[in-house]
Symmetry: C3
Amino acid sequence: MSLKIIWDRYILGKMIDFNKTGFDFDSAGEGMYHIISALYPICRSITGEGVRQTLNFIQQHLPLQQVEVPTGTPVLDWVVPKEWNIQDAYVKNHHGEKIIDFQQSNLHVLNYSIPVHKTLPLAELKPHLFSLPEYPNWIPYRTSYYQENWGFCLQHQRLESLEDCEYEVYIDASLTEGALTYGECVLPGATTDEVLFSCHCCHPSLCNDNLSGLALMTWLAKYLSASSRRYSYRFLFIPGTIGSITWLSRNEAQVPHIKHGLVVAGVGDSGPLTYKKSRQGEAEIDRVVSHVLHHSGVPYQLQGFSPYGYDERQYCSPGFNLPVGSLTRSPFGTYPEYHTSADNLDFVSPEALAESLEVYLAVVDVLEHNHTYLNTHPYGEPQLGKRGLYDRMGGKQTTPESRMALLWVLNLSDGTHSLLDIAERSHLPFGVIKQAAQALAQTDLLV
Amino acid sequence: MSLKIIWDRYILGKMIDFNKTGFDFDSAGEGMYHIISALYPICRSITGEGVRQTLNFIQQHLPLQQVEVPTGTPVLDWVVPKEWNIQDAYVKNHHGEKIIDFQQSNLHVLNYSIPVHKTLPLAELKPHLFSLPEYPNWIPYRTSYYQENWGFCLQHQRLESLEDCEYEVYIDASLTEGALTYGECVLPGATTDEVLFSCHCCHPSLCNDNLSGLALMTWLAKYLSASSRRYSYRFLFIPGTIGSITWLSRNEAQVPHIKHGLVVAGVGDSGPLTYKKSRQGEAEIDRVVSHVLHHSGVPYQLQGFSPYGYDERQYCSPGFNLPVGSLTRSPFGTYPEYHTSADNLDFVSPEALAESLEVYLAVVDVLEHNHTYLNTHPYGEPQLGKRGLYDRMGGKQTTPESRMALLWVLNLSDGTHSLLDIAERSHLPFGVIKQAAQALAQTDLLV
Amino acid sequence: MSLKIIWDRYILGKMIDFNKTGFDFDSAGEGMYHIISALYPICRSITGEGVRQTLNFIQQHLPLQQVEVPTGTPVLDWVVPKEWNIQDAYVKNHHGEKIIDFQQSNLHVLNYSIPVHKTLPLAELKPHLFSLPEYPNWIPYRTSYYQENWGFCLQHQRLESLEDCEYEVYIDASLTEGALTYGECVLPGATTDEVLFSCHCCHPSLCNDNLSGLALMTWLAKYLSASSRRYSYRFLFIPGTIGSITWLSRNEAQVPHIKHGLVVAGVGDSGPLTYKKSRQGEAEIDRVVSHVLHHSGVPYQLQGFSPYGYDERQYCSPGFNLPVGSLTRSPFGTYPEYHTSADNLDFVSPEALAESLEVYLAVVDVLEHNHTYLNTHPYGEPQLGKRGLYDRMGGKQTTPESRMALLWVLNLSDGTHSLLDIAERSHLPFGVIKQAAQALAQTDLLV
């Protein structure tokens, strides 16, 4: 692995005891890729059996609670929609040949299509066909959740070659009273203050958006379940928009406990890591992710909040205004493969997934250890030599960087600076500041 | 018209009903140029008949009140000076030829010259002659308001050619007890909060500085008199420095009502629009003008406040500290034609005047509509579809920009953000934000 | 002298009456260089006779109080160490030749070496020898204050040429109960608010670090002792680290009087002036030095605070958090001559010392005159003409700069802006603002 994250495994390892849990960090990328591969064939939507199958699979890894919210339940300004399920769908030409076949790709059906079975001429079929002229070999992904419609998505090349004849269209789908399903996993910590991770679980055969998010969040939860935790951690696997609205509607009492949060999506492609800040803009999570990325050694970009995107739109709506950002790789909508059949198993890689996971773990590491200490000897510099800290620290020879970290922690630990404040002001990575603080806390100098 | 101001006529038109008032925006530039042409020949000074003739002409367009303040009246730290009037002036050589003639250009006389009639040799005349060696064909504009003196301004070329003989100098002027005259027009609005526009009316035959200011302010007042107004608007046509000091001295009770203001000058030349901020620096007027210029599509520059310039010096003196900036084109003193006979009818153009007026109108538009709304459904995003706002707004197909504007207005309308705040944060032009807010205010989502 | 400091001698001279005191500013550089030359041969350490001899010499120039603090006295988290004195030291080879001789350079002995006299083979000697492979002709400067040891420093070239034989090592030093000595000079001013200047007086034959600091501080104190003073001034000549800790420990009641301070070191080399800000970062001293350097016309650099460096580490420890920065030329550790025998009399120059002193004096000038005035005529601009300030000021013709300074002082003297605030906002040098304020204060306009 060629990751350059400055929080090396030794430092992360102090929080997460890999040996004890049996996790092998090197194989995490492969493990996440395996989850994506297993979930890829399932036809998901914002409701229905596809979601339940997906959550069942993840439940093999995590103690996941599945929640069912009945159709018609009012949730904030919305109402839980009917449940959608689909068995089969095709379009046959006048020779009886299936020219579009749901069994070949579940993207072929307009997601949330109503059932249909009829024969009609090409001219009447065309308004129900969707393609991408710029990418004639790719199938687009389209939905019609809140406006009843039926349709097929197909390669533009194939659309162009359609003969002017009668076609049999068949969609064996149902839109019925049922439920919206989401998955929730809570890892209690030393405090009831929570860190929220949320990913959308509603897209059919699309890998980066957002099977990569499901996979990363599963492994992140696995790691954290085996480590000691200052914070409680909540992992939400929910359908986009309506899912977060439903969860927020049902958990108003829980919301104030959320101190930090990230929306997890698009973490498997080869693009640079991208952090979109929370609406608050200078929340601790915003500063933590910026700091981690700054010192990560990998390319990245920072973006201000905007009310368009993934479920951070809901968490950051003005009534909640939660400190929830979104950490992805290539931002949604900026790459041509987005919402097409080209967002497939070739578009994501174990290496990119592992790098993303490592950054998420580094973020958690900072959140967990971002304490505010107090220098007990604030008048003048304390004498480090007599406490064995002059040229050794934690049993190791000090470096110029670790010596500076000792001085910075002592100088700024006046009760108003957290370790992150100190890391930012000193331009040293948090891990180095954290180690200095831990060494000092073992003497009488820091409490 | 090739203006690129993003507040197109449709948007401005909603505030100002051109059809109803009969105003034709396209002809505004010509109309303003016409005013400049008519006022150009008049010999103005800080007092006297020239000012009265000028205000009489403007009164044909506006309900202008002329105010006379007697000589000797104490005004703040100053005293209203004697009134100056002039009938004729010349210098004759020993052949009896008029080599300098007030009738050819009123710039030839040192403004506020005392009367004189005598014959004297060139050596004694020279200290009373003023010219511009760098621009030998131009007549400079000079004044001596507060130190009694007489003099002539002339082309340097002509000065150089003067023979060493006796000259007859004649200035038929009077400096007597009289009055300082200024014009005032108030358009009451829905509130007594005021927007102040102020221009100096004291320069003789100079077009950009400041007949352009008089012309623009006249048309601005005409437009606003025919529109509905949230604010009251006050237009001051006053002699520079002593005029604003006199007005401030006589209207102390009125001063606290001034919420925004602009000093109007030099708006007819071809230079880039220039905004000089108020002393406050971040007042609403400063942010509004910056925003309008940023989105205007035309070149512009921003300058910090400085206590040198036009009458903003008085409005921004520390005791008043009003939020009054100055919006000009080329800043005073930065172009060679400034305060010379070259600031003539060729130096200003209808196109530049119209562009300046449009920016002033856009500024007024933002001030008038910069409300702070409240999202009534702040928990999660409200469902736009069921309110007919998902893909249509105000009867028109939404654009990506107008959809983003809807989301931004909903997200930031938490009672602490004005529409200008939202426009600044979203990097969208105010007009787009305003339209989104108006569409939302027609539903139950925004109050 | 080719100094370009904008506070010319005329302005500085108003504070310091050179004629009266008989000081000749031009000879200041030579005077400081002379002090360095005289003190160069003395072997100083953090305690001992070398410090006393040095302070005795400075006492010829200044009313310096010498303070003796006994060995074993607890000072903050430290304890005053034993006193170190040395008479002689050498290493002889088996021919009886002195190959290292303390009499040739006091840098040859590891500072604070314990006494030793024995014969030992090269292999056993080598761990006690220190050299600089990169600069084979220079002797490094090394210390071992808080860990008992003995050793010799020598040219790497000489180290390399040592034969593999027996050597006689001899250090006639003593480490005994005694005292730590420091010098203190206080010049009382109109108020008990203090400006602190502190330099370290503990390095043996090293010129820039820090005989230059001792020399500059001596001359600075001489100048200030002959001038009127708003502030009281305190000058500390102390051993590094333990000296400032000792002073702070013994003067806790005095500490709150320190309103501004500078640590003086490394002011004689040819590098650019460098200001390291106080921990507060935006203290008045930080703004003053930045302003002076900005307008000085000489190259300079600004650095944020860091808890590593000279005695500002102690003054800026969190318990004290004093507004004390450090104004040097080349920063410590950034030049190869640092802490070597190459930091000799050739490495410093009268010109650099004089330029540094002038900047220190300019800083003092700003501190002394940084008053906050009140414009008594804040409504509108006051009429300058009737007060003789329109085109003359202090008996001299005004310049465009001085006229702007008058307007800025009037405009911003609303009780919330100091003269430094006005200088910063107007981008004019403090000296010009100061002169304008003084001219206005002689009228009824400013109090």
